[in-house]
């Protein structure tokens, strides 16, 4: 009984164990790929990567890698020479930024005024969430403070006693007018 019970318990717990094991395996695979999964880029690939990150100074929306302009071609040659000379991608980018300014970068830097591009959406999202939370809280409080008026359906018996509490007092003439209107509505109802 003990062996069979243990087996049953183990079988029952197997699906539950599979999830963390699969997650751990997936995480390990990601770490391995991130750590050294990519082979080192060739010089041509490095040139392509650096050129793709630089904005062609005389083009509207093209990178140095994509632009056919002579100046972009010369920039690619310059990048290739610097890569061959052993300069790092950051050094090469810094050289172009020194001459052309930050506008030569396809992605604005995360500093100065350009940092707004990165942080403003997060701030707006946070402000939106806070506003939504505050509004929701206010609505919930208001609905708790002012519950909807309870009362019998229109077709029910005449209001009397506790059911009439909270409703405005009507004069006899007003009550008669309401009763007439209700009766007229009932007659007009189909079926």
């Amino acid at each position: 009984m003990n062996a069979a019970g243990t087996l049953r318990r183990a079988r029952a717990g197997l699906p539950g164990m599979l999830v963390p094991v699969a997650l751990a395996a997936g995480l390990a695979a990601l770490v391995i790929v991130a750590a050294g999964g990519h082979p080192p880029a060739s010089q041509a690939e490095q040139v392509q990567q650096i050129a793709a990150g630089l904005h062609c100074p005389i083009c509207k929306d093209l990178s140095v890698a994509d632009s056919p302009a002579p100046l972009a071609q010369q920039m690619r040659q310059e990048i290739a020479q610097k890569v061959r000379a052993g300069e790092s991608a950051d050094q090469i980018r810094a050289g172009f930024v020194a001459a052309y300014g930050d506008s030569v970068l396809m992605s604005p830097p995360r500093r100065g005024v350009a940092a707004v591009v990165y942080y403003l959406p997060v701030l707006v999202l946070a402000a939106g969430l806070v506003t939504a939370f505050l509004l929701l809280r206010r609505w919930l409080r208001a609905s708790r403070r002012d519950p909807p008026l309870a009362g019998p359906p229109l077709a029910g018996p005449p209001l009397a006693g506790p059911a009439q509490a909270g409703l405005p007092q009507l004069s006899a003439a007003q009550r008669r007018a309401v009763a007439k209107a209700v009766a007229r509505l009932r007659e007009e109802e189909p079926g």
């Binding site: 005389i58 100046l71 010369q74 920039m75 310059e78 930024v97 001459a99 052309y100 300014g101």
Partner: protein, 182 residues
């Protein structure tokens, strides 16, 4: 009712403030000379170069330290470069004895076309070739003509995009030379 009024006033105030900010930004932009470009190189040391002259010995910028240097990027196919040619020649003729050097850097051109241009337009100041545009890239060039003015310490003090005028160039050089320098 009062609450609605104050809310409307706040809304109007916000819109007015936003409009004021936009107008102020536009005014700032409109009040600037578009030909004087806010180059990141202004105020920094001019990138050195050693370039061969079309017809003459090479020119090395570092050897001109102590003199005011006007570096003009041009090409024979550039119409605006022809417009400013006279102003550059005039500055060279007027100030070369006061320690001012004008250098023409030929950009994306052929040596033959550049030589023909120099002969036809009677360019008198030194003209150098920038094969591969290495110097142009070091100066953050976007097109021609562009002109950089370098002071005696080797710092770039002005970057002009488009043709320079004779009067503006003379004023700039005179201000750097100081009173009675000529």
């Amino acid at each position: 009712m009062r609450w609605i009024t104050s809310r409307r006033a706040r809304l109007l105030g916000g819109v007015a403030a936003a409009v004021a900010v936009i107008v102020a930004l536009l005014m700032t932009g409109l009040g600037r000379d578009p030909s004087v470009f806010a180059s990141p190189l202004v105020g920094r040391m001019a990138p050195n170069f050693a370039l061969p002259q079309l017809d003459g010995p090479p020119v090395t910028l570092a050897r001109l330290r102590g003199q005011i240097v006007v570096i003009n990027f041009w090409a024979s196919w550039c119409m605006e470069c022809q417009d400013e040619q006279a102003a550059l020649d005039q500055a060279w003729q007027q100030f070369q004895d006061s320690g001012v050097v004008v250098i023409g850097v030929n950009f994306q051109d052929t040596a033959g076309a550049a030589r023909a241009y120099v002969r036809t337009d009677a360019v008198t100041y030194p003209v150098v070739e920038d094969a591969g545009s290495k110097t142009a890239l070091a100066y953050g060039l976007r097109g021609v003509p562009e002109t950089f003015v370098v002071n005696r310490s080797g710092r770039i003090v002005k970057h002009v995009i488009g043709p320079v005028g004779a009067a503006g160039l003379a004023t700039e050089i005179n201000s750097m030379l100081g009173p009675g320098a000529q």
